[in-house]
Amino acid sequence: MSGPGDPAAPRRSSLAAALEAVLLLADEPVSPQVLAAVVGASAEEVRGACDALAAEYESHRRGFVLARVAGGYRYQTAPDQDLYVERFVRDGHSGRLSAAALETLAVVAYKQPVSRQQVAEIRGVNVDGVIRTLQRRGYIDEIARLPGPGQAVLYGTTRQFLEHLGLDSLDELPPLEQFVPDPDAVETMERRLRVVPSIDAAHPDGPAGDEP
């Protein structure tokens, strides 16, 4: 699986290989700036290398393309493979929630009502796309709005979410603490789950506790 390839193989730039590796794991478009910081090149070089890679994939008619989306790059399936991809997804072989998406859903389930901002704080990443998908698929919905300017939307889980999990009510979700291994970890997690104070103030009866 590892190892140096056949020595006669054409020299590919190591920059290209590094970008391929990083982009393979990215679950959202990665900007040239982020890529540049990760691989230790300039954003300019990254852009050049990505565009070269994209052109290479296309000219070799690979099943994937390197697409430029929302200011970043990400792997997508090649449009001419739609037939197979659709079959694969429809048959339920893929299209389950990614671990990352499930985490977002879980945080909403336990911390509701919760704002997008709060979920992002806990997860440590931008969750806009995932929230949109979860909402469109009917697992979560807007259940309230924060008072004050901006009126951030607060999300909660839906009846359909409960049905899919075979639950009667949210009370049946297994309590978080019961399964937690040791006091240290509990404390750390508690701290991490604690909603940032500034938001707390704006939202006194909010999702600070552990109750689902």
Binding site: M1, S2, L24, L25, A26, D27, E28, R74, Q76, T77, V85, E86, V89, R90, G92, S94, G95, R96, L97, S98, A99, A101, L102, E103, T104, L105, A106, V107, A109, Y110, E121, I122, R123, G124, V125, G129, R132, T133, R136, R137, Y139, F161, H164, L165, G166, L167, E172, L173, P174, L176, F179, V180, P181, D184, A185, T188, M189, R191, R192, L193
Partner: protein, 262 residues
């Protein structure tokens, strides 16, 4: 970023006995019982999770050893009770068998560790479907997900170490664990064979970092990989590499230095 407390790996009474027999190269009846007891007690004290059962196991083994030793010390009668002798033999065989088994799985686990580490260098794409048009097509996004999975996902989302956004302004960050420091030292020492502590820590002026490295030196000594000499009080500490240059042996040594996981 995260604090990791390195504690000695607690891996059972057989492991301790095995260490005594193999590493210290002594015959069982030549070890003073006091030494065995000390070693066991030390091990028990260091063990993060020592319950009654474990302590009992230790006691049982210690008692067996005492008995074996006692038999050995007694003047040998010309008439030996055959039953007694058989008992002694089978006791020993049992102990031997268990030690062999312990040794076997210990070695196997080290290979597993290496396999885990090799495999971890290559990460799987688990992104799944990212384009919304495909996600909307999927029949059930929650297929096979149980309430317990949701709980686990929530804990994972909040678990320490997943992302570096914890507010750490109130604590002094340690950029290096003892485990890291040991790895670093092994690298440096097996290369230079001998070095002073001062030189190994050149350019480091954070006290915690120094302490971490000093602990790492002690850990190496404990693992039998290094010798330490200090000619005069407050003098330079000279550290000599006594370990093998074989990468595998070094890795095995690293496996002994462990970060305890609750």
């Amino acid at each position: 970023m995260a604090y990791q407390v390195a504690t000695p790996a607690f891996s059972g009474p057989f492991e301790v006995l095995l260490q005594l027999i193999l590493r210290e190269r002594v015959e069982i009846h030549d070890i003073s019982i006091a030494r065995i007891t000390d070693a066991f007690l030390a091990e028990i004290e260091q063990a993060a999770e020592c319950d009654l059962e474990t302590a009992t196991e230790f006691l049982l083994i210690a008692a067996t050893l005492v008995e074996m030793k006692a038999k050995r010390l007694l003047p040998s009668e010309s008439v030996v009770d055959l039953d007694d002798e058989l008992d002694a033999v089978s006791e020993r065989d049992l102990l031997l068998a268990r030690l062999l088994e312990c040794n076997t799985f210990r070695d196997a686990s080290r290979t597993l560790r290496r396999m885990f580490e090799d495999a971890a260098r290559s990460r799987a794409r688990t992104v799944g479907v990212t384009e919304e048009r495909w996600l909307m097509l999927a029949p059930v996004l929650l297929g096979g997900v149980s309430p317990a999975d949701v709980r686990a996902a929530c804990l994972r989302a909040a678990a320490p170490g997943i992302e570096p956004r914890v507010d750490t302004t109130h604590i002094t960050p340690i950029s290096l664990t003892v485990g890291d420091a040991v790895a670093e030292l092994i690298e440096a020492l097996s290369d230079q064979q001998q070095a002073t502590f001062r030189r190994l820590t050149e350019g480091i002026d954070d006290r915690l970092e120094l302490v971490v490295r000093f602990l790492a030196v002690l850990e190496l000594v404990k693992q039998g990989l290094a010798d330490v000499q200090q000619a005069i009080t407050f003098g330079d500490i000279v550290i000599s590499w006594t370990g093998s240059d074989d990468a595998e042996v070094r890795q095995a040594a690293m496996a002994g230095v462990d970060v305890y996981e609750g």
